[in-house]
């Protein structure tokens, strides 16, 4: 009985295991894990540095998870290639593992641009894995000056995580605003202010031209002295396994709604995929946790002969910095793209709802969190806004804006 | 305007140590007594608006509230009592007729409480209802004078139409309009489940409730609201309302603001028009006229439905009943002066009419004396409060009883006696949607069923104690009653002996 093979041991992999086991409780599963840890909650590494969690609590599943799921985990192993004719995954060690079907849940890797002099920086860290966090944590001391390159989610979460453990933090980014992939200028400004109030310094629209061991020379001509450098510029999906087979690959491995790749018996899930974003009307890498689970689970079910469709992928993030919370989802279309933006604001909050073709395509909520999932579901379900009381929804997220029948379905029967 | 002479009647007493400012009292008070002060962080109360309906008290989760009668009184005076003074102030203020609701609250004698029930000892031993079958079922309608047989000697069983009741109690007339849809629904469901009957009052029958027709008595009153062929055919019986115990001699008035939506459609009158029931039926000035209406209704319903004539208990009640018994009516309903209402002029409610106990005894005796008792069944109403009131009424001669106030209490009514305001906090005497929804008929009907089931148990136990195993055998059995503290005259009218005799 050839096993199911899962390459990767993150959330998508765990979900894939659970997906398989919801259908097939017998066939063995082999997990190839580069990291020497059971599946853990990667987004928590900043909370770990902050002291809000610890390795034990960060574990995603109970210690007996793999045993109960009848999985063999090969820790510290890396898959280098797949032979689709012999249906074998080849490990770095040269060993081959035969599979009935395989799921690529191999995630992404930090992307490091070529900075001049970077090799001279001794104290440089990525911020992706728990090992990265552990190493960074070891290096930190209360007087340390830290330069974080990248003001995206990873860079800023890192800044918050180490805030109480470093002397000074500077964050630089080539973009003119923080969180440029999920926030527009004004919203980004609000988040930036919250972080600046906490003492974090920003150098935006600026990039490092050249490194010395403890100094960065910026394009603007400024210099930043640092003791520790964190590189959080971005990530790249790990696509090589499929690319080498001639499979269809864009910025991630192209996936359909059944989590199949273009190569038979090879499934894919999580950060390494490029799938449909229903708010975009096209494919996009959706490197977010919920997506990894949903895809992983669907992949597992389909690998085991069941049927599960995963076709409601949208970008979404819920993220807080120093008490200021931002929630975002979907795509924001400006007037030039036929979109319309509705805004509600108070002194400390800002809500933007983006509408196109009579449907909600995206939103940004700063300082507002109540019942945000109702907005998210409007996007996911592509609900025509003429079926709901959108005037009410502009003000508050509430099921009261839906029809009585719709509420009956939601609240008067099992869902 | 000027000085307010009337000090608030009630005090809202809030235990600040227990109040958690959850504001349930505020949300639940349609009279807007309670409010929250964000500045002070406490609840405030405007006691001038309080009617002592106890809704807030009942819903306060920490029992922080009580409503008490204000100890603030005018100077004591046996002749000019506080209420009298207040009423004078009110009329001096408004120039209007005083309005009240529910039953007469004045301290007139309650004869039920001066009548005691017998029980068996040694001879004719008591019956244990847990071990032996007990019959509480009654049939209302004209009964044959004598046994008839055909030529072959077989019994002729052609009875005039009857109402069958599992126990001798019915819910008496309360119109849709005076009470809410949900109150009506609760009554209809409970009556059906219990195998008894409820009464539409003169507001017509909402189309949703035709399904409960076999347990419905449809009323035809002086306004003839909502009366049409289907309506008459829908019910188990038809009641002609000549009068009402709470307001004998006058009609009814449901203000236009309550004639909305379904109420308007059911009454068959335009929205917003006042529903005025005249004091008389304009086609009835004699027993002969009444007979015409009785037979018109019988004709319209193919002689399939018994006809009830309901009158208020007034001075000549026995004579009037005698006339009705000869009019072709099948059942006479007599409503005593303590009966409730949604709105009545206070002076009439408190001063017109006579007690049901005396009226019932007088009517039963008169019909017997005239040999026409079997022409009609008698239903007694007007403040029947318990199973023992029912038993006493049956022993005095009633075939069954009507209850309404007791039924409303089961539905949550706290007898605040401000039905006429239309702001019933218990969702009963109101048409405001936010208030009517407070009465969930699932709860309402279950409580009514509970109440009646409890009474039925008590009735069985008490008549069993008398050695009687069927309620029919108690009817008119005044030997089972004794009076205490009554005058010779009262005993004579009631037809009972004094205790000890």
């Amino acid at each position: 009985m050839k096993p199911y093979v899962i390459i990767g041991n993150g959330v998508a992999a765990a979900a894939c295991i659970e997906g398989i086991r919801s259908i097939d409780v017998k066939t063995p599963i082999t997990v190839i894990s580069e990291e020497n840890h059971p599946v853990y909650c990667r987004p928590l590494i900043s909370y770990y540095l902050e002291g809000k969690t610890d390795p034990e609590r960060m574990s995603y599943r109970a210690p007996d998870f793999y045993e109960k799921m009848k999985c063999t985990v090969l820790y510290g192993e890396r898959a280098v290639s797949i032979n689709k004719r012999s249906k074998t995954v080849v490990l770095e060690s040269g060993e081959g593992i035969q599979y009935s079907s395989v799921c690529l849940a191999c995630g992404s890797s930090p992307f490091v641009p070529r900075f001049e002099g970077l090799e001279n920086v001794k104290e440089q860290y990525s911020f992706m894995t728990s090992d990265d966090a552990e190493a960074l944590g070891q290096a930190l001391h209360k007087d340390a000056k830290v330069l974080i390159v990248g003001a995206g989610l990873i860079g800023l979460k890192c800044a918050e995580g180490i805030h109480g453990r470093a002397g000074h933090i500077t964050v630089c980014d080539l973009a003119e605003r923080v969180l440029s992939s999920i926030l527009d200028t004004e919203c980004a400004g609000m988040m930036q202010t919250a972080m600046e109030d906490a003492g974090i310094e920003f150098m935006l629209g600026d990039s490092v031209a050249r490194f010395e061991e403890n100094k960065a020379h910026m394009n603007s001509g400024k210099t930043v002295d640092f003791d520790i450098l964190v590189l959080a510029v971005g990530v790249r999906a790990n696509t090589y396994l499929l690319k080498d087979l001639g499979g269809e690959v864009g910025r991630g491995i192209v996936v359909n709604e059944k989590m199949e790749t273009s190569v038979p018996n090879i499934y894919v899930a999580g950060d390494c995929t490029e799938g449909e974003d229903i708010t975009l009307g096209g494919r996009r890498v959706l490197a977010i946790f919920p997506n990894a689970y949903l895809q992983g689970h669907a992949a597992g079910v389909n690998m085991a002969g069941g049927e599960e469709i995963c076709n409601k992928g949208i970008p979404m993030n819920s993220i807080g910095f120093f008490g200021m919370h931002a929630m975002t989802a979907g795509s924001y279309y400006g007037e030039e793209d036929g979109g319309e933006c509705f805004e509600e604001r108070t002194k400390n909050t800002l809500k933007r709802l983006f509408v196109r073709d009579g449907k909600l395509t995206g939103f940004i909520l700063i300082g507002i969190t109540e019942r945000a999932g109702i907005y998210t579901s409007l996007i996911r379900e592509q609900t025509p806004l003429d079926q709901v009381d959108f005037e009410m929804l502009k003000k508050i997220a509430s099921s009261a804006a839906f029809s009585q029948e719709s509420r009956r379905q939601k609240f008067s029967r099992p869902v | 305007m000027g000085v307010e002479y009337i000090y608030p009647e009630f005090e809202v007493i809030r235990n600040e140590n227990r109040c958690i400012t959850c504001r349930v009292c505020e949300r639940q008070c349609a009279n807007e007594v309670h409010s929250y002060s964000p500045e002070l962080g406490i609840m405030l109360a405007d006691e001038t608006k309080c009617v002592d309906c106890q809704r807030c008290v009942s819903l306060c989760p920490t029992h922080a509230l009580k409503i008490a009668k204000s100890p603030c009184t005018y100077r004591e005076n046996t002749n000019w009592q506080n209420d009298t003074i207040k009423e004078i102030y009110k009329q001096a203020n408004s120039g209007g007729v005083l309005l009240s609701s529910m039953g007469n609250p004045k301290p007139f004698p309650v004869y039920w409480d001066k009548i005691l029930i017998n029980a068996s000892q040694v001879t004719n031993p008591p019956i244990d209802p847990l071990r032996e079958p007990m019959e509480t079922r009654v049939f209302l309608g004209k009964k044959p004078e004598k046994i008839e047989r055909d030529k072959k000697g077989n019994l002729v069983c052609k009875l005039p139409p009857q109402i069958e009741l599992s126990m001798p109690v019915m819910f008496s007339a309360m119109s849709y309009g005076s009470i809410s849809y949900n109150a009506h629904w609760s009554l209809a469901r409970a009556a059906t489940e219990l195998g008894i009957a409820y009464n539409t009052g003169e507001g017509g029958l909402h189309e949703d409730f035709y399904a409960y027709g076999p347990n419905t008595i449809v009323q035809v009153a002086s306004g003839r609201f909502g009366v049409h062929e289907d309506y008459l055919m829908a019910g188990a019986a038809i009641e002609i309302k000549m009068g009402q115990g709470a307001k004998p001699g006058i009609g009814g008035h449901l203000p236009g603001e309550k004639i909305v939506g379904d109420v308007s459609r059911t009454r068959m009158i335009p929205e917003g028009t006042d529903a005025i029931s005249p004091a008389p039926h304009h086609d009835i000035y004699s027993i002969e006229d009444l007979r015409q209406l009785v037979y018109s209704l019988k004709e319209a319903t193919e002689y399939k439905k018994p006809v009830i004539v309901k009158i208020a208990a007034v001075h000549n009640v026995a004579l009037i009943a005698s006339g009705i018994a000869r009019s072709g009516a099948d059942i006479i309903a007599i409503d005593g002066f303590r009966g409730g209402t949604g709105a009545a002029p206070t002076r009439i409610r408190d001063n017109v009419g006579i007690p049901i106990e005396l009226a019932l005894a007088a009517v039963d005796q008169r019909l017997r004396d005239e040999g026409i008792r079997n022409n009609v069944s008698i239903v007694a109403g007007g403040s029947i409060r318990s199973a023992t009131d029912v038993i006493k009424a049956i022993a005095l001669g009633a075939d069954a009883c009507y209850i309404a106030t007791a039924a409303l209490l089961a539905l949550g009514c706290h007898l605040c006696r401000t039905c006429q305001s239309g702001k019933c906090n218990w969702g009963i005497a109101t048409q405001r949607p936010d208030l009517t929804k407070r009465l969930n008929p699932d709860i309402g009907s279950a409580r009514l069923v509970n109440l009646m089931t409890a009474w039925q148990h008590e009735i069985k136990e008490i008549i069993g104690g008398m050695g009687i195993n069927s309620i029919e055998a108690l009817k008119g059995n005044r030997l089972m009653l004794r009076g205490v503290g009554l005058t010779e005259k009262e005993l004579e009218i009631l037809g009972i002996s004094h205790a000890g005799e």
Partner: protein, 145 residues
């Protein structure tokens, strides 16, 4: 499995469910001790206006998005009941972002709490249901349609 359902035609917007919920989950034996002078963080909340109102608490979905989306592995489904491990939750509110019913909200410390049907507190069965004056909230088995 028994779940909490709302009948919005009977909801009076009295908000008692919120107070009964907060009390039941407070660990106190007296509501005054539990709630007086405190901001309320109930696991059920009343939505709507004067015309329509209804209480919303966790639907204990058969296929819960919140569990699948929880970045801390703090949410799980055990015997049909969605539970939160507050020890693991970091308060990211991703569950709030994905719950289509708007049923979730954090506690005063920003950590998630949620309706667990009062099965773990001293109430033993949903306090919102027991305290609802009009049976607008019920706890019963209903068929999956």
């Amino acid at each position: 499995m028994k779940r909490v359902y709302v009948n919005e035609e009977w909801c009076l917007a009295c908000h008692l469910c919120e107070y009964n919920c907060a009390f039941a989950n407070s660990g106190h034996s007296d509501m005054v001790l539990a709630l007086k002078g405190k901001k309320l963080y109930p696991r059920i909340h009343v939505e709507g206006d004067e015309k329509i109102s209804y209480a919303v608490s966790c639907r204990h979905c058969l296929d819960p998005l919140c569990v699948k989306s929880c970045i801390a592995g703090a949410l799980s489904r055990k015997e049909g009941i969605i539970e939160v491990d507050q020890n693991k939750c970091v308060g990211c509110l991703t569950c709030v972002l994905v719950c289509p019913y708007g049923a979730l909200a954090p506690n005063e410390d920003g950590i998630m709490q949620k309706c667990e049907l009062c099965l773990k507190n001293s109430a033993g069965e949903p306090a919102c249901v027991a305290g609802c004056p009009n049976k607008a909230i019920v706890y019963e088995e209903r068929e999956v349609i």
